[in-house]
Subunit: 91 residues, 2 copies
């Protein structure tokens, strides 16, 4: 095996990650946030829907900047795993 396929756990983490971003986006449209982050709206959609479970670091960083959220909180929130219900993220 040359490149390990994503495990189900990684995909679930990606789904939680996307749900987190979608929630943080709130009322704003995909195109607006995507443009603010400098990525395409389709990419943002894939990340939010979990179809891109492991996006690039700088993509996430730009997205977090556009959403005004912390990378550490973001990583911590979905790294928690099973207990990702509590979202201590205000904005």
């Amino acid at each position: 095996m040359v490149r390990t396929p994503l495990t189900p756990w990684e995909r679930q983490r990606g789904e939680r990650f996307g749900a987190l971003l979608r929630q943080a986006r709130g009322e704003r449209s995909m195109v607006e946030v995507a443009a603010a982050a400098g990525i395409s709206a389709e990419t943002l959609r894939k990340i939010e829907t979990g179809r891109a479970p492991t996006p690039a670091f700088f993509t996430v960083a730009a997205l977090a900047a556009a959403l005004e959220m912390s990378l550490d909180e973001l990583a911590g929130a979905c790294a928690v795993g099973s207990d990702a219900r509590a979202l201590p993220l205000p904005a």
Copy 2:
């Protein structure tokens, strides 16, 4: 063009990013840190040498956790490192 090739600016950013990680690694060996982060040593080497300029978010997150450093300062450090904030929307 379907997937924009990495720009020279992105590659330089990757080099700064890798240098930052290498500095943070300090005296510890690559295999040790890579094992702690759950990635292969080759991947860590490529990231450190800048040959993988845009690693996955969770890869970086695991690496930052292994190195006990903040993702936010990591992203901020290589963003403001030597570049005066280029356009977030290249084109």
